[in-house]
């Protein structure tokens, strides 16, 4: 496809790279995901696959229909429980297989904001994307997948018109990073779309608007 395609990009939703699993939530739309490490799954995500602004999805079956709940990584946090402590460190190497929750461990958390939903088709791609607020809640331990560019494009294209209708909610959830995550998403979409696509100009206008408003809010202009 384009330069943005990575080795993990495949159109089959089932073989997408797993990024992590849901561990908690701050609100109905704002989830905390613990990023998988080497021992958690066969192929943990590489750094660029869980970067800031990376679209993700979570599979949910509702009334017998498979849905993809779409989201985006808008924040990451590193947790090191030993920070500031002194003393021997024994746990990690010896207890590779045994990591119950009460044993504190270094980990990376990602903030995922939900953007909308889509229906998963039989050939394992998506259809009927909607940018409305997802009504269903995610569960702890739900797996969050890396979203390939092709799926990202389908999710953002409704009737050939590019859509970012979740924008106001995303700005709300992402707070100070809201403008940044939108700009990153727009950059990604611009990379995915062909250069002569008329939607490119629309994205330009939206990007300018968001950036300008963010600068205004921060008191730059």
């Amino acid at each position: 496809m384009t330069d943005h395609s990575t080795a993990g990009d495949q159109l089959d939703l089932d073989s997408c790279v797993q990024i992590g699993s849901v561990v908690s939530s701050n609100s109905h739309l704002d989830y905390v995901v613990e990023v998988y490490k080497e021992r958690d799954c066969e192929r943990p995500p590489e750094l660029h696959e869980r970067e800031f602004g990376q679209p993700v999805f979570i599979k949910k079956t509702i009334d017998g229909t498979d849905h993809a709940v779409m989201g985006v990584i808008y924040d990451t946090q590193l947790i090191d429980p030993d920070q500031g402590r002194t003393g021997p460190r024994l746990a990690q190497e010896d207890q590779a297989q045994f990591t119950p929750g009460y044993i504190e461990e270094r980990t990376t958390l990602a903030g995922v904001a939900l953007l909308g939903t889509a229906v998963i088709t039989d050939d394992r791609t998506i259809t009927n994307p909607t940018h409305q607020m997802p009504r269903w809640t995610l569960e702890v331990d739900d797996t969050v997948f890396h979203c390939p560019d092709e799926i990202t494009r389908s999710f953002h294209t409704i009737d050939d018109q590019i859509q970012l209708a979740y924008m106001d909610r995303l700005v709300d959830i992402a707070g100070d990073l809201g403008a940044e995550v939108i700009v990153t998403l727009i950059d990604r979409l611009q990379g995915i779309l062909p250069e002569d696509d008329p939607n490119q100009r629309v994205l330009d206008v939206v990007e300018q608007n968001v950036q300008w408003q963010a600068r205004e809010r921060r008191g730059v202009v």
Partner: protein, 558 residues
């Protein structure tokens, strides 16, 4: 409160034509502000209506929209790329674009139509917030906007007599709300048509002339036409629209400059003084004595010779001043074809009911135009005076005189002999059935006394600030909101205000029935024709062929 509101909202709920809701009072005592979700149906100048309880009944109060501002719309940031419409950006962001815009409009209350007074009465009470507003119905506006004296607010005015269909409301579709103004009103209290050049002054005047010559009016009209712009009026003759079953057909008479004569005895001493070159005080004294003596005589057909003879009789043959006067009189009066000892424009030839006389003055110079006008107006005014006083008179019906280039006959600078009689007629003519119509492109150059007496005004596009000020200062009925409209009008659009209207209205002047004769010249076409013509003609510089052989050259050497 709830008790009074419920029936009203119940009444309005069934009305599909509600366009907005009152938000609150505006800045002026007669102003209120209302909000409307879109601008589809409301433009500035539009008439809207709401219902109030007054005098024990429900009254429809009319108001005019004067200003509109956007209070909610798509952000300007969406317009960053001219090739991407703001709706596209809005759609991308999931912002609904249907009825996004919300407008705040200001309206000025005109009042409800008082059927007893047959004019508007101001309820002096602004509508409550939340009152629904509708677009005023066409027929109601047709009845109440012009001063037609209807006894209900929904009379079918097209059937009334003596009205002139001038056009229709500008904000409505063509011919949706036709405006008929009462001819009697503007014909007795005078009319002013003011507009910059090319905006349709003479077109509008011709529309009025057509209306006045229709069988229902049969006016006695006189057009003073310094430019020969009215030569297509004759087409009215033979048109079915102007004929009546009783055999009526308008009589269009063209009076060419050769037939325009001023009988010397009709001149007043002031006119003669104005014609002569700087007469000395002694000369003026001599002349006025002799002039008064001549006017006391029985004969009305004396000329310069008789006048000089009279002066010589009084002051002697060898009086130097008389000699100097003789030279001046012969030069200014005798050598001017306009003046004649006997000939005169017969009034019965130029004025008659059902007759429109166009006095073509295009070959006369300005001074002669003013003089002939002065004398004619003076004579006609005298006849009208006699008729009203039950004395014998040559004009036994009201007359209306229309002046193209009105500033020429009643200039603000005051240097026209006709100014005095024009002032007299505009201030007193109403009582004697003598109406004037002034057409001008320079309101600031018209005598303010004359202009301010014109009770009905049709103002068209005017951009010159001096001229706008002149209208503001002299035309009482033209309010601020009307004056604001003037620079933005396009040709054929006009503001009608004054005695003929209950409230000023913006109209589109209707199409003429006869072709228009005063359009701009097709300059490029005429240049081409002239050039081709010259190419075909041999010029003197083209040398004749003196050589031998079968020349086709030009042989004509004269």
């Amino acid at each position: 409160m709830a008790g009074t509101r419920t029936p009203r909202s119940g009444l309005m709920a069934g009305r599909s034509d509600v366009v907005g809701t009152v938000a609150g009072p505006g800045e002026d005592p007669n102003e209120f502000v209302f909000v409307t979700p879109s601008d589809r149906s409301i433009k500035t100048g539009e008439f809207i209506t709401y219902t109030v309880s007054a005098d024990g009944g429900e009254r429809s109060v009319f108001a005019r929209v004067t200003n509109r501002e956007l209070i909610r719309g798509l952000p300007e940031g969406f317009l960053a790329d001219p090739e991407v419409g703001p709706e596209t950006v809005a759609a991308t962001l999931g912002v609904p674009t249907d009825d996004t815009e919300l407008y705040r409009l200001t309206a000025t209350v005109i009042g409800y139509y008082d059927t007893d007074m047959t004019t508007f009465a101001n309820p002096r009470q602004l509508p409550d917030p939340g009152t629904p507003l509708s677009i005023a119905p066409d027929q109601q506006l047709e009845t109440v906007l012009p001063n037609l004296g209807c006894e209900t607010d929904s009379t079918d005015v097209a059937g009334l007599d003596g009205i002139a269909h001038v056009g229709w409301l500008l904000n409505r579709p063509a011919e949706a709300t036709n405006i008929h103004i009462p001819i009697e009103e503007f014909a007795s209290t005078h009319l002013a048509i003011l507009a910059s050049t090319g905006s349709g002054k003479s077109y509008t005047a011709s529309v009025l002339i057509e209306e006045m010559m229709r069988p229902s009016a049969r006016a006695s009209l006189l057009v003073f036409d310094p430019h020969g712009e009215y030569d297509t009026l004759a087409d009215m003759q033979g048109e079915a629209a102007f004929q009546d079953e009783d055999g009526y057909e308008p009589d269009i008479v063209y009076y060419d400059p050769e037939r325009l004569r001023v009988r010397i005895s009709e001149l007043e001493i002031g006119d003669v003084m104005a014609i002569l070159d700087n007469p000395s005080n002694r000369m003026q004294e001599r002349l006025s004595t002799a002039w008064r003596a001549m006017q006391r005589q029985e004969s009305r057909t004396w000329g310069v010779d008789e006048l000089i003879a009279e002066m010589e009789r009084i002051y002697g043959d060898d009086d130097a001043s008389v000699g100097a006067l003789e030279w001046r009189l012969r030069r200014s009066i005798e050598r001017n074809d306009l003046f004649h000892p006997e000939e005169n424009v017969p009034l019965d030839e130029i004025v008659d009911a059902g007759q429109c006389t166009v006095l073509q003055m295009d070959t006369l110079d300005r001074w002669d135009q003013q003089l002939i006008t002065t004398v004619l107006l003076r004579r006609m005014y005298r006849e009208r005076l006699d008729d009203v006083r039950d004395r014998e008179s040559a004009i036994d019906h009201p007359i209306f005189a229309l002046f193209e280039e009105g500033h020429r006959f009643a200039p603000a600078s005051g240097d026209a002999p006709s100014l005095g009689i024009m002032r007299t007629i505009t201030s007193e003519g109403r009582k004697f059935g003598f109406g004037l119509g002034i057409i001008s492109q320079r309101p600031s150059k018209i005598d303010q006394d004359v202009l301010s007496q014109c009770g009905t005004q049709i103002s068209m596009q005017i951009q010159n600030p001096n001229d706008q000020d002149a209208i503001k200062n002299s035309v009482e009925a033209a309010g601020e909101d009307v004056l604001r409209e003037l620079p933005g009008l396009t040709p054929g659009q006009a503001v009608v205000s004054g005695d003929a209207m209950n409230t000023p209205a913006l109209i589109q002047v209707r199409q003429r029935r006869t072709p228009h004769g005063a359009g701009s010249r097709p300059v490029i076409e005429e240049w081409h024709d002239a050039y081709d013509e010259r190419q075909r003609k041999p010029t003197r510089s083209e040398g004749a062929d003196f050589g031998e052989g079968d020349s086709t050259g030009v042989q004509d050497l004269d």
